[in-house]
Symmetry: C2
Subunit: 204 residues, 2 copies
DNA sequence: GTGGCGATGTATCGTAGCGATACATCGGGC
DNA sequence: GCCCGATGTATCGCTACGATACATCGCCAC
């Protein structure tokens, strides 16, 4: 998962580790706590040996007119390679069971803007299916509750069930939006008004 | 976290690994996917060497009149020791930063019935504080959104923010319930009617 | 009666990711 | 002149996961 996320961010612009971590936490803040350096640096190392990214000595400030936003004291700046971009596209389109779990889904969703419309739909539907399974599990647990669950465990299940139901509804809306060719944030369906170009971007 | 959860379940009754995993998944299903055997067995091993639990050869069926609920083909049955029970109480009352993260909070909450009222309140308040921090992080991200976040990332943040707001409200209710000396599931505040004995149970 | 199959059951291996920690530099306030 | 907090790179030990292997049991179809 980290591999995909890192490649995705470096796809947008080269960065050093510290900045990468900050961006990662902003982009994925809604789904996971915080990426640890104990994960980040080893992964960066691996990505280098695999040839997906390269390491460059961070220039202090090559051009005084253009203060490089994220290279202050500049040490190591990581940059994605052409192979890395291909790798990124491959990972984006590769849907395993992991894709529909919390972390996997979150990362994939965070890069939906670079994902083609078909894949987006498949991911949303897979996620919905996964959450529906979870929901059923909790419903079962609650209905068999009086047997063995205490009031607190039961309350936890109820809260979990509620969260699942909400997420399913959220996904339904997103799926509907996708099918209509719009993007989240575009106005609600006020008729077939200018849906603004293709939904698949292919930068690079 | 697993250590606490396992001790908690074995506190209720001896079990073998398979059954333990099932109960674990029921009890914690609302907060985490599924405990893997790759976590479970090594942890059981560790708990044994530390002396918190003991291993017993699973009797096939010692008493035909009392079919042992969970020992079918019986292999290894794990049982908590007296030291293990103390250890469990210690872990229950030990509040680190981890206690307020998703997994930690879930496990602690799942055993609230065995936690004393003061600790319960401290945990709920700590969790609320933690979620409020997360919520603020997302609010920040959303308000600085136009700068760099695409429509999908933004939508993810919105959904995360919504989830945080709901959890805070849920926690507020639980805190209010705690302060009034009730348990979740007891009727709403219809006056000071029979609050049913002490809220702290001390089994064993 | 036997063959297969799904549930029960124990166990290990490789790997991802976390939390703590160490250390170094930079800018600014006192 | 000095300390402190933000920036920045990096490793270590540990927890836990996911895949996999393997064995037994009960049951149903053939």
């Amino acid at each position: 998962m980290l591999e995909l996320a890192i490649l995705g961010l470096l796809h947008e612009s080269p960065m050093h580790g510290y900045e990468l971590r900050k961006q990662l936490n902003t982009k994925l803040g809604a789904i996971r706590a915080a990426i640890s350096y104990g994960s980040l640096y080893p992964t960066l190392r691996r990505l280098q040996t695999d040839g997906w990214i390269t390491e460059e000595p961070g220039a202090e400030s090559t051009d005084p007119g253009v203060p490089p936003l994220t290279t202050r004291r500049g040490r190591v700046v990581y940059k994605i390679t052409a192979e890395g971009k291909e790798r990124f596209q491959t990972l984006l389109a590769e849907l395993g069971p992991e894709t529909f779990e919390d972390a996997g889904f979150g990362v994939h969703f965070a890069f939906f803007a670079r994902t083609d419309a078909d894949t987006r739909l498949r991911i949303l539907e897979g996620r919905r299916r996964r959450i529906e399974e979870r929901r059923e599990g909790m419903r079962q647990a609650i209905s068999r509750a009086a047997e063995r669950l205490d009031a607190y465990t039961l309350e936890l299940q109820r809260h979990g069930l509620d969260a699942c139901e909400r997420e399913v509804r959220w996904l339904e809306e997103l799926i509907a939006t996708e099918r209509s060719g719009r993007q989240p944030g575009d106005g609600p369906p006020t008729g077939p008004a200018a849906p603004a170009a293709g939904s698949t971007r292919h930068p690079g």
